[in-house]
């Protein structure tokens, strides 16, 4: 924002100060919204194509070249559909829920540094803001489930609340190590702290474990497939958005996908070095190169998401919550200890060894302790 303001003052000194200020505020928002909505539209296409290939299908390939216009066709179809509101629904809340689903997803974008020197708002509490706001979508989710006056919606919403609230805890704990390492809550500060060879936090033992925990929690947080209990098609119709049609349904889809993108952006910022990469500091083209780096890393996160969605079956509710409370939470707490060991180690090699050892012992112990729960065989009454 400041950078754009300075640019405007430098190249158009005649522009009134107030207008320049307004432009400096609005321009990044427009750019970020435009870019991420385009990426969202492409993402739906990429995901359907990749899932198709994983399942030996071809995916959408009828609308436009290789099906590229499929998102447009989907949007038109959803826009022209009738908007159905159930008779018994709480009309106001039913209307508000899809709007509130989208808002937090976009708000998180404000603190994601997309390129070098380009972040809509460089808050000094950036990560805290992102984690707090991204959780707010659970409120909209429960509003949708409650207002629909439908048992499946309510079940989905209750599952969603249980899931998001329990995965929030290990997620924040996994983020703590990053804050300890960077010494700041600002997202730009965290990226800048990852400079240097192997400086990305994912290249360190505590960073790797933190990244895996954070990524799993992010997938659970936005209800991606191994953890998509709130909208489990085969169990509860469509979960909390069962009673939504037309554009409201589209808003739910959009909120979900944009939330996945923004959570990916936060993950990239915190663990994968954000916009950093070879060439991101070049004088003239640095911002283009750094934006390319950011989106390439975001692409990797998205590929992981799609790959997991195409592969793993949905977990049960008890497995889901047990996984969060019994494995991820203790592991993330041990991760903080490993970070402390790293911090107080006399040199890098000892730090590496010690923190890796702490984590290895913790992982083996936790896996042993959870072994009974992990491979528990269910017995069914009528199936031997």
């Amino acid at each position: 924002m400041d950078a754009i303001y300075q640019l405007i003052q430098q190249y158009c000194p005649a522009m009134p100060d107030l207008l320049a200020l307004a432009l400096a505020v609005v321009l990044p928002i427009v750019i970020v919204l435009g870019v991420f909505l385009t990426v969202f539209a492409l993402l739906t296409w990429v995901e359907r194509k990749a899932l198709g290939r994983i399942q030996n299908r071809r995916g959408p390939n009828r609308v436009g070249p290789v099906g590229l216009f499929q998102p447009i066709a989907d949007a038109l179809k959803l826009l022209t559909k009738e908007d159905i509101v159930p008779n018994a629904a709480d009309k106001v809340v039913h209307f508000l829920a899809p709007v509130l689903v989208v808002v937090p997803a976009f708000m998180v974008l404000a603190v994601v540094p997309v390129a070098k020197g380009f972040v809509p708002a460089d808050l000094n509490i950036g990560v805290l803001f992102a984690l707090a706001v991204s959780t707010a979508s659970v409120l909209a989710l429960f509003m949708a489930g409650w207002a629909s006056h439908n048992k499946f919606s309510l079940l989905g919403a209750m599952r969603g609340v249980a899931q998001v609230v329990s995965y929030e805890v290990p997620m924040v704990m996994a983020a703590v190590v990053v804050l300890m390492a960077a010494g700041t809550l600002s997202s730009v500060g965290i990226v800048e702290a990852q400079r240097g060879f192997c400086g990305w936090f994912v290249c360190k033992p505590w960073g790797l474990v933190g990244f895996i925990i954070f990524q799993m929690c992010a997938m659970a947080e936005v209800a991606r497939t191994p953890f998509d209990l709130p909208e489990a098609e085969s169990e509860i119709v469509a979960g909390y958005h069962t009673e939504y049609s037309g554009f409201k349904f589209a808003l739910f889809q959009m909120g979900e996908y944009v939330a996945a993108l923004t959570m990916g952006g936060i993950t990239v910022t915190m663990f994968l070095g954000g916009y950093l990469g070879p060439g991101s500091d070049l004088p003239k083209v640095g911002w283009v190169v750094s934006a390319c780096w950011f989106f390439a890393k975001l692409g990797i996160i998205i590929i992981i998401n799609i790959w997991a969605r195409g592969t793993w079956p949905r977990v049960r509710v008890d497995q889901l919550l047990g996984f969060a409370w019994k494995l991820l939470l203790p592991l993330s707490l041990v991760n903080i200890v490993a970070m402390a060991v790293w911090h107080f180690a006399p040199n890098k090699i000892v730090g590496w060894g010690a923190s890796a050892a702490v984590l290895a012992v913790a992982i083996i112990a936790l896996v042993r302790l959870n072994a009974g729960a992990a491979f528990e065989k269910r017995s069914y009454r009528f199936i031997s």
Binding site: A50, R53, I54, Q55, N56, R57, R58, N61, W307, A308, G310, T311, W312, V367, N370, A371, A374
Partner: protein, 183 residues
């Protein structure tokens, strides 16, 4: 340590990766990507597939095998066949249909007409692209539309057509020059 926590998950990821990569590099083999891109790419239909009856003729359409015996009309469970025998000026039957209509909207493609035909005249087609614009008149298939050559029969069902040619007795029809008259 043949089985560690998460091995099943990783095995699954490997399987899906194989599918994903294989779908691009299998050179269009149908054992992996089995989808036929229908309008551009067509599946070879098995010989026993059947869609709708047609009438076989040998050589020229005037030389049709059908003798208007009406067995198929009587046997048709859906009663979708309507036949009127052709008669000459004296009212003598000519052993060929004047009208032969099959209603597409009623026909249930059972193939019983083809089974009962003693002259091997009515056979089941493989052509499934029979949608029409009109609901009523367009769906009523008339004689010229139903007549197809023996070569076409050989083309769609080679084994069955060869068998029929070997066993079929030529139908005896009055050779009074009706073929030229009809022109």
């Amino acid at each position: 340590m043949s089985r560690f926590l998460g091995k099943g998950l990783i095995d699954g990821l490997i399987v899906t990766t194989k599918n994903f990569v294989g779908s691009y590099f299998d050179g269009g083999r149908k054992d992996r990507m089995f989808t036929y891109q229908y309008p551009e790419e067509r599946m070879k239909l098995p010989e026993n597939s059947r869609s709708f009856p047609f009438l076989v003729y040998d050589g020229a359409p005037e030389n049709m095998r059908c003798t208007a015996c009406k067995i198929c009309e009587m046997e048709c469970p859906a009663q979708c066949i309507y036949i009127v025998m052709e008669r000459d000026a004296n009212g003598k039957p000519r052993q060929r249909p004047k009208v032969f209509d099959i209603d597409t909207s009623v026909c249930m493609q059972c193939g019983i007409c083809a089974e009962v035909c003693p002259f091997d005249s009515i056979k089941m087609d493989c052509d499934f692209e029979r949608s029409k614009h009109g609901r009523f008149e367009d769906l009523l298939a008339h004689l010229p539309e139903l007549l197809k050559s023996n070569e076409y029969y050989h083309q769609i069902k080679p084994a069955e057509a060869t068998r029929v040619d070997a066993t079929r007795r030529p139908t005896k029809k009055p050779t009074d020059g009706t073929a030229t008259e009809r022109k």
